[in-house]
Amino acid sequence: MKAITARGALALSIAALLAASLAGCVPDDAGNGNAGGNTDKGDLQCGLASGEAATGDPIEVGAIATASGGVDFSSSPKAAAAYFDCVNENGGINGRPINYSYQDDALDPTKTAQLAAGYAADDNVVGLVGDATFIGCDVANAEYAKGDLYSITGVGVPQACFSSSNIAPVNAGPRQSAIQLLQWLQDEGKADAVFQVGLNTQGNGDWVAAGINEYADANGINIVGTELSDPTESNWLPLIQKIKDSGATSVIIVDPGPITAAILAAVEQQDARGDITWTCTASCYDAQFGSQIGAYWEGFVANSELQLVDEAGADNELWKSVMDAYADADAPRDTFSQAGFLAAKMFTDALLQLDPADISRETVSAAMLGITNYSSDLLCRPWYYGEADEHNANHSTRTAEITDGVFTKLTDCIDSGDPALDGIFAREESEGLVG
């Protein structure tokens, strides 16, 4: 009895040793695609840019993001955290550091509601920045409204994130992103027969599909198929078969990056790319995406809700360099990271106008609501908050395609043709929100 255990253990350890010693390594090709910054850590212009660490009474700031449960959108709060770290090392909010953390709702709206209630009830939390929840903006907004708490959300996904009083996303949202892909396909003359793919999560896939259909109806575009799948789906064959059978000339995928990558891998396995133009919303716009999906997908098109990562511009450069200096090397360099960064930057700029001794939820909320006409090279048009029941300030996006494994520019800003934005446009006009 003992003999066999001892022998087994010996064999195992020898095997492990052998494996370890034989572990010939594969060459390292990791990197940030074309999203590396050029500014040294000491020269970063964050907040006051004083170069001195803030030591005062910390200011509590939170966020809710969906980081697990099949979908990971934590790149937005990660970028916000990186920027706040940089601000704290550069004088903070007039001497007071920001104590920032985010919580994961695990794709469960019950948990979103709990976390939101917790933030709303905690008077120390002055505001929320860089949230990225894939579900539950509606339940969260109900709690925020009760506690007069406001959020500059990095990434809003479902419809409720864009039609809430206390939530204003920096990104444009899947609906705008998808419609603008359709507009691009139309401009390129590739919109003869369009197939759309998305998720069946409530208020997301159906809302985007409705938007695409409305735009298509108004512009005489033929939508040949719609497929909304479960976030935990792993069998993509039926989808590929449907796309083949539909005779589509182009496909719009409105799924998170990893799910899109899984679909594309299945398409590659079946060698079913054909002459179809495959496109994806901004959820795929990640500097790493090209190397993830491989050489088969040269020419794959994605929308980007903020600036393309390889373009010049002060804020874009600051984002890249802050990420290099303060975030993990494997934190995504994608649209949503830019959104979280920009949310944190706008929040910081707003707070710097306040008296540091008088920073409370009340004053911070007023400062956040007061953001109007905020220009950045990351955005196409200025961003604003303002008191309203819907917030969708970002509605112009860019398009890129994969060449040599990285995203390169196809078009600059396209303005959205979504008929549902009329209310937003009217408010911009009447309240003078964009200058």
Binding site: T110, A113, Q114, D138, V139, N200, D206, A210
Partner: protein, 347 residues
């Protein structure tokens, strides 16, 4: 506790005033009143919400405990029944303007019927076979919930809104619109459910169930209709679990299929084993372990994922050395203290 139940020989004894006004019941009543009055203030907004959900799950845990502790049946699909109760509550709640309490009753009846219908073919099963069948049913329910979704104020049988129409949460009961009030509401309803289960246990059904667990053949010989009593157990457990689902639906007004996966049932079963399957206290502990411990770990800065490691270790420990669970150990402790206090004048 199981021992005392079996010793009770008649219904009359169970209802004598001395029994009802026993020290234990008075203490329970005082604790209950204190929780109702002060808990929301003491806990604060966040923890009140957490404990609301804990209480809801402890009702479902009581059902699992009844099946396992009394009938020796392992059901790994109880969270699916919470989902069924939630679905019925949302559907009926949106379709009619009935008061929430009535909707809860409908949910209880509906879930009871579905539980019995689903359980009917499985009635003859026991042991591992039943555990596997219930797990398979939980898997099937997961797929069904994914397809149907949960009603959110739309039209049609499924009651789903779609395509750019915002979802509509179900209104909370008039007595519990604010979080603290809803917490109290849930506590009262849960106490009612515990009372229903407790009364069953201390009366004829409880004794019949215990006999069936001891030996099915023996129970048959003693003239106990095993099928009838098993069905009744299934109905009671399903109905109370359905009420738990209704309370969960009322909490946020919306539900999501992600909360009702097969794995959630396995986790809840694990917490029941750890909490103790032989008493209602164990069920309450199980509710806390499943819904309250993860946020507590988070609040302490411990990775919430370690909950699985804790539950796994706890489960193995419960199976090997502490079959009565935490509740059993607590009760043992209480007994020892009482014995020490009353040692001077032994009965």
């Amino acid at each position: 506790m199981s021992a005392t139940v079996q010793q009770r020989s008649s219904r009359v004894a169970a209802w004598s005033p001395a029994r009802i006004l026993s020290a234990r019941n008075i203490v329970l009543l005082v604790v209950f009143a204190a929780v109702l009055l002060f808990a929301p203030t003491v806990l604060g907004a966040y923890w009140t919400r957490i404990f609301t959900v804990c209480t809801i799950f402890s009702v479902a845990a009581a059902g699992i405990a009844l099946l396992y502790g009394r009938l020796g049946l392992v059901s790994l699909g109880q969270v699916s029944l919470i989902g069924v109760g939630g679905w019925i509550t949302l559907r009926v709640g949106h379709a009619t303007s009935l008061p929430f309490e009535l909707v809860l009753v409908i949910a209880a009846i509906g879930t009871g019927v579905i539980g019995v219908l689903v359980g009917l073919p499985a009635l003859r099963l026991s042991g591992l076979n039943l555990a596997i069948v219930t797990l398979m049913l939980a898997g099937a329910f997961e797929v069904i919930f994914n397809v149907t979704g949960f009603p959110n104020g739309g039209d049609g049988i499924l009651g789903r809104t779609e395509g750019g129409v915002l979802q509509q949460p179900l209104a909370r009961p008039a007595l519990g619109t604010a979080d603290p009030d809803y917490f109290r509401y849930v506590i009262v309803v849960a106490a009612l459910m515990f009372l229903i289960i407790g009364l069953h246990l201390s009366n004829r059904p409880g004794r019949a169930w215990a006999a069936i667990r001891q030996s099915e053949a023996g129970a048959l010989a003693a003239g106990i209709g095993t099928v009838r009593y098993r069905l009744w157990a299934l109905a009671v457990v399903s109905a109370t679990t359905g009420v738990a689902g209704g309370l969960l639906a009322g909490n946020a007004g919306l539900l999501d299929p992600i909360s009702f996966k097969a794995q959630a049932s396995i986790l809840l079963f694990a917490t029941v084993l750890i909490g103790g399957a032989f008493s209602l206290l164990g069920a309450a502990i199980a509710g806390f372990l499943s819904q309250g411990l993860p946020p507590l770990l988070d609040a302490w800065g411990v990775d919430g994922n370690l909950i699985f490691v804790l539950l796994g270790l706890g489960m193995i420990q419960a199976i090997t050395t502490a079959p009565q669970g935490i509740a059993g150990q607590l009760q043992g402790l209480a007994r020892r203290i009482r014995r020490r206090l009353t040692r001077k004048n032994p009965r």
